[in-house]
Symmetry: C2
Subunit: 217 residues, 2 copies
Amino acid sequence: MAQKTISRAVVKRLPRYYRYLGELMNDGVERISSRDLSGRMNITASQIRQDLNNFGGFGQQGYGYNVRHLYDEIGKILGLDRTYSVVIIGAGHLGQAIANYGNFERRGFVFRAMFDIRPELSGQILNGIPVYPTSMLETYLSKNPADIAALTLPKESAQEMTARLVAAGVRGIWNFAHVDLDVPEGIVVENVHLSESLMRISYRLNNPEGEEQGENG
Amino acid sequence: MAQKTISRAVVKRLPRYYRYLGELMNDGVERISSRDLSGRMNITASQIRQDLNNFGGFGQQGYGYNVRHLYDEIGKILGLDRTYSVVIIGAGHLGQAIANYGNFERRGFVFRAMFDIRPELSGQILNGIPVYPTSMLETYLSKNPADIAALTLPKESAQEMTARLVAAGVRGIWNFAHVDLDVPEGIVVENVHLSESLMRISYRLNNPEGEEQGENG
């Protein structure tokens, strides 16, 4: 597919399209109009057509979208036609929660190992995933390259750990630590800042009219 | 403060301002120019001035921003000048990870109780928080009203549980289940869809040039 600039807003919506199309497939639906998809997703039909036009359309006038085809195409765009090796740095509750979430593996994200500085965790197998001491990170990654690292550790260690991961060839950082990371160009950081998410709730509870309407999420 | 329409993008940035200002305060910084704040936050100075103008400014020409004053004001805007009672529905790893995260409590989000359908968890105290059977939800909430509920349960139960929570007076839903929820007007839903976050990483790993530039997060 030819490279073009896709807006961040569209990229943010793509996984949601993918989820709805997957559910339609599970329900045995073979085709759907942008209007019907619009009703389910609470996005306007014209927004849907505009979003999908970014990727060359896939819809046919008077027929709508072929659900499986669109699902497969969006999956390819999202890079889900291959697998990703993921390591988790920090084997606390959050690390284990992520390791435990089976849906990721079905999408091609394979959690290979966890690392933790706490000696009592080393050598354990948590939810089927081995826990290694953090000191073994470089040795491990030199033999078992990873695409993505989930940072589920205290923010004080996050920047240093990111530098070690990037030096060891990891290109995607899934950052749960409550800090913004400095990374070289070409390294992808996706932040999940849970406190900020919680503060948006308190804001919205106190400002019921003070917010623009927008789609979910 | 007079109600006005604040764009969702600005609301999304406010918690990040709040975090940086809190760190500046911890570092003993008393005042800061929009230019210095810009350098730290990787947002343009004009964007910062524009964002903060939404709330009446707080900056003084030639002086910059008083860090503590701005921190307090943004805290008030975010509704952090009061406390919120939070319950967690689903006492698995993710529920425990959230319960375990001390920073939330410092911001005024007090986790009071967890609920789980698994009988073996009832009566336990996990990270200092009691676990009750889900069947006791309404009885508990009638005696201990909660502002916010975190949904850390399988998606199949999320909609039904949301209806029960809303009927019992909960107005904020922090939704970790991988499904969009239908709620009555006035109920706030904040979604944390982890699979979608992971798919944005795979997208960006495969489309290094195919994305607009934007600030962190």
